[in-house]
Symmetry: C2
């Protein structure tokens, strides 16, 4: 059961052993489990692939871990309605593999897409690498089959693209971190597969120049790239070393990965020309164009592996997920640099700059004891979060609150909103058996 | 107060006189009103422009009508973050007027945009004429200031594009029909104004051919048009007569309006060529291309005025808002034709075919008494709704439930979901003072 005691959060201190792990194969089996648990008041923690980054799938009060790993069927591909219906335990990347022959794709792209489950993506409202243009998971969830805490199996939404029949429970369940219902089946809206796609790798001398280019390249060109990812020098170096990959990063203090897609080759070309020019105007050293799958995949592989590389090279760290209005990203970087200087530690940063979402990662300095680190980190985070809130931001853009960030919720949510959210929780789960101890401080 | 006793629903039988109409100018004033109403248990019905189509703004139990008409300030345009913040009483079309000089636009486009308020659009999660490509109102609501039933003023979200800090209250409030909170300020995500736009008016000999072309023109070309609007012959004739407009509709049994936009002229041209060709392959008589504002506006004006034209020419009618998965639109049309034949009445149909959302409008035959009509209509609607549900659809795509459709909710929502929605209502409004009598049967 050890494997079910934690997710991908580096700090082992967050792990809690389950008392039982169950692997149901259907909504009916989950319904039976929930009825028993509700009657006997046993905590149930739903679990996807365990690739979460907020301890959302950790059974904080023991009880049952309910893994959907056996529920991995593609239920239906409806080409004419441009939807796919899958069970919650399907690996996200598998969805696009099965869709390719139909010229369709699902636009969600979490960095962990090769391992994470779609059910977990829905539970966390996962963001990822295509959100600048395509938005996050929630935009594509048209239908859900779910089991409520009392065991009722409900179907919400379906294949229709519009629906205002009563409250938007679909929108409420997306991102509810397994605290309101267990998802069993998801119906996703699909998009026509873009025929052309180009990845730019843009090198900047410093972080400031890279970050300043981010809002500019959108507002000055009118182009909405699929992705605008930011990586500072340390992030690139660490991931390259981990992958034994070589990037032309010697002189570069920071890099942007910019992806542009569209239906016409010339359209995409005109767009990346315009975007590349803005980057050069803003001080870029070089704009590399990756217009084939292999080169593009090399670039993205580095980006996708940063978190894992840091975990291996600096196991004592805290992967953060702060988000600000995207034009405030340069100010946020100054805040991080200032914190880094004042507290004498490295805070490498990377992430979804086009969404204003930065994975700043404070790392324990080699000379600092674990006790000192554990005393420092909450203070540091409190400062970081308060400054983020000042800039109109919040403490999580896509990883969720789980148990990792719950103590900080009052920094960004008023008592009225927290109390409202608690009443919503009560409305779904009056006995608090579903994923207890998460979200709320 | 008579003007505040109804919305745009044709049937005067739904009107209820308020006991008082208040026109606050700020969130603080609304807070004071709500505190009083909550203490004294006085029903409060929030009201936008009164352009709704489900009696959502009708004060079913009397009490206070709270009109936001004086709250019509543009609070802030943030060009670098691509957001606009407006008060709830701003006319939707005004938003794009003030944005034009910045090369930005708000992608919501309800048919009543010249009169409706943005606050009402948020309350109903309004759809409209650009939803095929751009989605509905909810996709653009990034922040809300709202007053809860107990008078608390809350701010939810803001200018950040991603946020998973606790439950998605924003998503829950959008489309809640004024039953959970009073909206005072809205922050909307903006989009770069597309540089090129073309409107196609496509004539088909019959309804069947027009409707069959709808899913095909998307799936066969991979193009996502901004709009795919459908109008049958009767709808076009009625609107043209009302506007004293002339359309080349003599031979046409039905028409599609297809709008395509993009950043490049050639891209848009290639797309409308491909789409036009699919229409011709599917039996279109003619494809007219309107590539300038004046001609395009002539076409759209006819479409926007259908509802009003029917109200004038056939005041005894029921404007419906059914929605199905869009590939099921041809089957839905057969259902409507069959109902029309069996019950001996006209059911002209028009609407957002690209979203699967049809405004079928049963009209009282000239020879039928009002008593007969009132006995027939609920039976007819029950049949129509049941068939819609059969096809994977529901009873409202964008107009909402209000009091007009609440009796039919059990046809499309299970007892478990209805009960869950009621508990959510209780969580926000334990004394049921906010817009009582709506949504729930």
């Amino acid at each position: 059961m050890e494997a079910y005691s934690h997710d991908e959060v580096a700090d082992g201190g967050y792990a809690v052993m389950p008392e039982a792990v169950v692997k149901p194969a259907s909504a009916r089996e989950i319904s039976a489990i929930m009825k028993l648990a509700d009657r006997e008041r046993i905590p149930v923690t739903p679990r996807g692939a365990g690739s979460g980054l907020s301890c959302g799938a950790v059974p904080l009060y023991g009880g049952i871990v309910l893994s959907v790993e056996r529920m991995n069927r593609i239920v239906e591909i409806d080409v004419r309605n441009m939807t796919i219906t899958v069970e919650a335990g399907v690996v996200t990347n598998h969805i696009n593999e099965v869709l390719e022959e139909y010229g369709l794709f699902y636009a969600g792209y979490p960095m962990s897409l090769e391992t994470c489950f779609i059910g977990g993506n829905v539970a966390e409202n996962a963001g990822g690498g295509k959100a600048v243009k395509y938005g996050v998971t929630g935009r594509y969830v048209q239908g859900l089959e779910a089991v409520l805490p009392d065991g009722a199996i409900v179907r919400i939404g379906g294949k229709r693209v519009k629906d205002v029949t009563g409250y938007n429970l679909l929108g409420l369940l997306v991102g509810s971190e397994g605290t309101l219902a267990v998802f069993t089946e998801v119906t996703l809206k699909l998009t026509a597969l873009p025929k052309h796609k180009v990845t730019l790798l843009v090198l900047f001398p410093t972080v400031d120049e890279a970050i300043d280019a981010v809002p500019a390249l959108m507002t000055e060109t009118g182009v909405v790239p699929t992705a605008i990812e930011f990586m500072d020098r340390l992030s690139v170096q660490t991931a390259c070393r981990y992958l034994n990959e070589h990037f032309p990063y010697e002189e570069a203090g920071a890099m942007l990965i910019i992806e542009i897609d569209g239906s016409g080759e010339e359209e995409v070309e005109a767009q990346y020309d315009a975007v590349g020019q803005v980057c050069l105007d803003r001080g870029a050293l070089e704009v590399y164009v990756a217009d084939n799958f292999t080169t593009s995949e090399r670039v993205w592989r580095v980006r996708r592996n940063i978190a894992e590389a840091f975990k291996v090279s600096n196991p004592v760290q805290s992967l953060e997920d702060i988000v600000v209005p995207f034009a405030q990203i340069p100010q946020l970087i100054r805040v991080i640099e200032d914190l880094s200087r004042r507290h004498g530690l490295l805070i490498p940063s990377y992430g979804h700059a086009g969404d204003g979402n930065l994975h700043a990662t404070p790392v324990k300095p080699a000379g600092m004891s674990l006790e000192e680190w554990e005393a420092l980190l909450p203070r540091l985070l409190r400062e970081l979060y308060a400054a983020t809130a000042e800039l109109g931001g919040t403490i999580s853009g896509e990883h969720g609150i789980g148990s990792k960030r719950k103590a900080y919720m009052p920094l960004v949510l008023s008592p009225e909103l927290l109390s409202l959210m608690k009443r919503v929780k009560d409305a779904f789960d009056p006995h608090h058996i579903l994923n207890p101890g998460k979200i709320f401080p």
